[in-house]
């Protein structure tokens, strides 16, 4: 019989070939073109277990420990691996309620059923001890060791800073961080984060579909061990820091003490402060909220971030600039009749001998003398205009570190403010202002602002007779790492050394001199302290008390700036506090108990009332 349908075999063979072609094309796509399956495969079988390194320790300049670590534990859960267990006992160990348990479990399930997520953060070692014994009863729960910061003394909160969890924004920017990692948020913890954090390690394990570890991946070839963070040696003298914080208790303000020969910061006090251990571990967020809401702003680091008019302490700058510009001499005499009078303008002064030379003017803090000096600087015929002379004047200030950030190794430093020529041009019209227009600059009032750090640096420059190193807070990183080289670079201010002598003579007189000296309360029998008081005008209340000083007069060991807000004249509190700090640092012992008691017992509320 003739087969009429024999040709259909071709169609049938084509079916088989078409089927194969479809399969091969699809395989070509998923195996060769599309790479996503490879990633998914790796995610399926590889579990990366992070090894968290211990954070670096922080010591003070004498090798005394300030910050160290304490073990803490995160409890992780893998929801698919859990099975029925004694939840009552579990909750009892952790000290949580059934509702709390359900909420946490729900959050974990929402995150992922198969991947581990944090069930409870930072369990204490004690709780961990209990839990560890019974952990086998709670399948699907794991413990991951972490470290928490611990402090030997409740001081230095602002300069040390604190550690917090990284936020999503940072995770997106920096590949190093993963959700749940810790990072320095402020202070040294922030500025030295890269040294302190060390290096995370990772162990890669192969896991099966039930998430059970089946061994290490590729014989641990791709595993990395964690490297502990580097220890830091701070320039801080922990004893002095603690003493400074004690003196500032119940007062608002700050103390900055610097070793003039190196720029190393000996103490960096901002008051009111807080116990740094308040911002550690599980209590951190609640405490942070509370501190943030506090009206006295304990989180605010006044030493670096508060800008005040420097007041009379600024007179020394005008004296130095006048001498360097040659418009005054140490022996220049200016009379003072209870103030400076020019036409309708009067800058008041207190009663003192008249006329005075430069050292006398510094000692007595004569306003008239420095108004005359400042006017001579700006009306210098060597320049084409007052404005040009002003520019020159401003250059000196910038060389001293005013008007710009000094570049301390701490975050959030404020730059302060020295008005530029164009600032006044905008205000008064181009070149339509004169020396008298800005005469308040002569005595450190007006638009000008400086931070306590900048004032301490000014004291440092004077102590050094013209040079300084950028103030810094860390002197050694790791066993043999020095600080950044920018801190060993000497800056000069363009003012010759001999011009400092009459100023220093005046500062010495202010503390140790006879009648009319402004800061006799700061006098110390054994050591010659050179200092200058100041009063920063405060439009919101009582004036701020300022004192800058250094000691001893020859070969100075410490330069200091003290601000006490709302305390009135510089001599009232700032000078005694500076003097006590110097005594403590240089002699290690306070002999003037009455002075210490006087300072300690005073409570100055932010509104300026003594209590």
């Amino acid at each position: 019989m003739k087969d009429r349908f024999a040709n259909r075999k071709y169609f049938i063979m084509a079916l088989a070939i078409a089927a194969a072609v479809i399969l091969i094309l699809r395989l070509f796509y998923i195996q060769i073109i599309d790479k996503t399956y490879r990633t998914s495969a790796a995610n399926n079988v590889l579990r990366h277990v992070t090894q968290y390194p211990a954070r670096g320790l922080v010591y003070d300049r004498n090798g005394e420990l300030i910050v160290y670590n304490q073990a803490a534990y995160d409890l992780l859960v893998v929801p698919v691996q859990t099975s029925a267990f004694d939840t009552a006992r579990f909750n009892e160990i952790l000290g949580i309620s059934m509702k709390d348990f359900r909420d946490r479990m729900k959050a974990a399930v929402t995150y992922s059923r198969r991947a581990p997520s944090v069930f409870m953060k930072m369990i204490s070692s004690e709780t961990y001890g209990f839990l560890q014994e019974e952990l086998y009863k709670f399948p699907g729960f794991y413990v991951q060791a972490r470290t928490l910061r611990k402090y030997t003394r409740p001081v230095g909160a602002h300069l040390l800073g604190y550690v917090g969890e990284v936020d999503d924004k940072l995770i997106a920017q920096d590949r190093y961080y993963r959700s749940g990692d810790y990072i320095g948020v402020s202070g040294i913890e922030k500025s030295y984060e890269e040294h302190l954090r060390g290096k995370k390690g990772v162990n890669i394990f192969l896991v099966d579909v039930h998430n059970n570890i089946k061994g290490s991946y590729a014989d641990s070839r791709f595993d990395t061990t964690s490297v502990p963070g580097s220890n830091l040696w701070s320039t801080i003298d922990l004893g002095l820091q603690e003493y400074g914080e004690r003196l500032m208790r119940n007062k608002t303000g700050s103390i900055v003490a610097i070793e003039p020969s190196t720029g190393e910061i000996l103490a960096l006090v901002s008051s009111p402060s807080y116990d740094p251990s308040l911002l550690v571990g599980r209590v951190r967020s609640s405490n942070f909220t509370r501190l943030q809401a506090d009206t006295v702003k304990p989180l605010f680091d006044r030493a670096l971030m508060a800008s005040y008019p420097p007041g009379s302490t600024f007179k020394m700058m005008n004296g130095l600039i006048g001498l360097e510009e040659g418009v005054i001499r140490p022996t220049s005499l200016f009379g003072c009749s209870m103030g400076y009078h020019a036409g309708s303008l009067t800058v008041g002064c207190h009663s003192h001998n008249s006329p005075l030379d430069l050292p006398g003017a510094v000692m007595n803090s004569c306003n008239a003398w420095f108004c005359n000096a400042f006017r001579s600087i700006l009306e210098n015929k060597g320049y084409n205009s007052i404005q040009e002379a002003y520019d020159r004047w401003r250059e000196y200030l910038v060389a001293f570190g005013f008007g710009n950030k000094l570049g301390i190794d701490l975050p959030n430093e404020l730059s302060g403010f020295i008005p530029t020529r164009s600032y006044y041009d905008r205000y008064y019209g181009k070149d339509r202002w004169k020396a008298l227009t800005v005469i308040s600059l002569a005595i450190g009032q007006g638009e000008i602002g400086a931070t306590p750090l900048q004032m301490a640096n000014m004291a440092t420059v004077i102590a050094n007779r013209g040079s300084f190193y950028i103030p810094h807070i860390v002197k050694k990183i790791g066993e043999d790492g020095g600080p950044s080289s920018v801190f060993s670079q000497k800056y000069t201010t363009g003012i010759s050394a001999e011009n400092f002598e009459p100023i220093i003579e005046g500062m010495e007189g202010a503390v140790n001199g006879g009648p009319g000296a402004t800061a006799r309360g700061a006098r110390l029998d054994s050591i010659i302290i050179c200092g200058k008081t100041g009063t920063a005008q405060n439009p919101h209340g009582k004036d701020h008390s300022i004192f800058v000083a250094f000691a001893p007069r020859d070969n100075p060991q410490i330069a200091i700036a003290v601000y006490v807000e709302n305390a009135g004249f510089g001599s009232t509190f700032a000078a005694p506090i500076a003097s006590l700090m110097i005594e403590e640092y240089l002699t290690g012992k306070i002999k003037r108990q009455y002075l210490e008691d006087y300072v300690l017992k005073v409570v100055i509320a932010p509104d300026g009332k003594e209590q």
Binding site: K9, I12, I24, Q31, D34, Y37, A41, A42, N44, V209
Partner: protein
């Protein structure tokens, strides 16, 4: 003795070689799929690879047994064998063991047997025997009878229920096609499959509208009259009006409007028939009406008859559902495993997805994952190549037969292998829904291996005796 040597000379050794190669490759892949450090010996009888070796040896014995049997036996006893397996399929519904919700297994101690795997060869024989007695160019009655022969085991297996096996039986329509089934019926069947998929993907209404427009396009081809376009316009206008009226006055759904439109177009076609005496209008309208009825049936069947998990599987395959950790888990893991194999694969026993059991059922239905992951694109193409070689060889063997009986049986073997091969590999890479059917000679399991071996070797035995007169 002389007869035996005769068989060995006439046996198609290429097919035997392919069969052996596939079994060994399957066995090695099963070893990789269930590989376990504690039982590394490939001969360990407590493990699946050990058992599979046993099944292979048994398959060898079965093959020899089939080859030494007289080929006339399969011809004369075709109906008896068919009847026997129909009985077994009935019996398994009564005394069978339920595994995964299907009463598909006879239990003999540690081993289970699946009659549906063996019933394939019985159905092939019966169908071949029936077609052998008929003229070519199958008429309606012949078609109906042939379909019944296929449908009896299909219905019994559907009761178990084992939808995967049911689908494979539809492969026998390829046999009917080769033996003279009307090309219209075959095309209708193909169209039915396409419409089925389109309806599930796009829903009834767009497909119905598409069909209406297509039918007018067909009409246009036949009469080239601008009135067709006008008719289409009138219908569209009437449809829109009836939609607005229906929707705002009676609150009727789109479905009713389709019905109305179809009736309206029926009137238009009737007018054409009257005006131009155009028979083609009737045919086109029948297709349209049939198509629309069909797609509403499909929609109903899909939503009302299929079980939710079957609906989801089809939905996932059609890309309408994305649920990597739910029902789509198998498919997703299977894709990851095969896709991560890359060009050259990860190497034997180095497949991470395979080793750590991310793919469920990997030694049985998803055995191709092991191939794809450990042997990569190269290995996958080799396996597919082996199957294509076997399939084309089977067509060749079938075509050299003198009797319709052997040829039809041969095409039955071809068709079953084609469907198993395409659907099984297709489901592991997402071109077919996840239907639990084995990959011949690769998947773990005695029943399927023996079933396929008998299926293949009966054909080889018949082919070897093709010079003899069957009776």
């Amino acid at each position: 003795m002389e007869k035996n040597s005769n068989i060995l000379n006439r046996l198609d050794w290429l097919t035997v070689l392919l069969w052996g190669t596939m079994m060994i490759m399957g066995w090695l892949n099963i070893y990789a799929a269930v590989y376990n450090e504690e039982y590394t010996s490939i001969f360990d009888m407590s493990q699946r690879y050990g058992k599979q070796l046993l099944f292979i040896v048994a398959a060898l014995v079965l093959a020899i047994f089939v080859l030494v049997t007289d080929n006339k036996l399969y011809y004369f006893f075709a109906w008896f064998i068919y009847g026997m397996f129909v009985f077994l399929l009935l019996l398994v519904l009564v005394v069978g063991k339920e595994i995964n919700g299907a009463k598909a297994w006879f239990e003999f101690g540690p081993f289970g047997l699946q009659p549906s795997e063996f019933a394939k060869f019985a159905t092939g024989l019966a169908l071949a025997s029936y077609l052998n007695s008929k003229r070519q160019a199958l008429g309606f009655r012949t078609m109906a009878t042939a379909t019944s022969i296929i449908m009896v085991p299909v219905i019994l297996i559907a009761i178990q229920p084992d939808m995967g096996s049911v689908i494979t039986y539809f492969a026998f329509f390829i046999v009917l096609f080769r033996e003279g089934m009307s090309i219209y019926v075959f095309i209708s069947a193909l169209l039915a499959v396409i419409l089925f998929l389109l309806t599930l993907i796009f829903g009834t209404v767009p497909v119905a509208l598409g069909l209406i427009i297509l039918s007018f396009a067909a009409l246009w081809i036949f009469i080239r009259n601008s009135q067709v376009l006008m008719a289409l316009g009138v219908m569209a206008g009437a449809g829109a009006l009836s939609y607005l009226a229906g929707h705002y006055i009676f609150g009727a759904g789109l479905d009713l409007i389709i019905v109305f439109s179809v009736m309206l177009s029926g009137a238009i076609y009737a007018w054409y028939l009257y005006r131009y005496r155009l028979k083609m209008a009737v045919i086109i309208y029948s297709f349209l009406l049939g198509g629309i009825l069909y797609l509403f049936t499909v929609d109903y069947a899909f939503h009302e008859i299929l079980k939710p998990h079957q609906q989801t599987r089809i939905n996932i395959m059609l890309g309408m559902e994305d649920d990597p950790y739910g029902t789509g888990y198998n498919l997703n893991q299977s894709l990851i495993s095969i896709g991560s194999g890359g060009f050259a694969g990860k190497g034997y026993l180095n497949g991470t997805q395979t080793k750590f059991k991310f793919v469920p059922e990997q030694s049985t239905d998803f055995i191709f994952c092991t191939v794809g992951e450990e042997w990569g694109f190269v290995g996958s193409v080799v396996v597919i190549g082996l199957f294509v070689l076997l399939l084309l060889r089977l067509v060749m063997l079938a075509e050299r037969q003198r009797t319709t009986f052997v040829r039809a049986y041969g095409y039955g073997v071809f068709a079953l292998f084609l469907v198993h091969f395409f659907v099984n590999i297709g489901m592991t890479i997402g071109v077919m829904p996840v239907i639990g059917i084995p990959l011949p000679f690769f998947s773990y399991g005695g029943s399927s291996l023996w079933g396929f071996t008998i299926l293949l070797f009966v054909f080889l035995r018949l082919d070897a005796g093709r010079a003899e007169y069957l009776g």
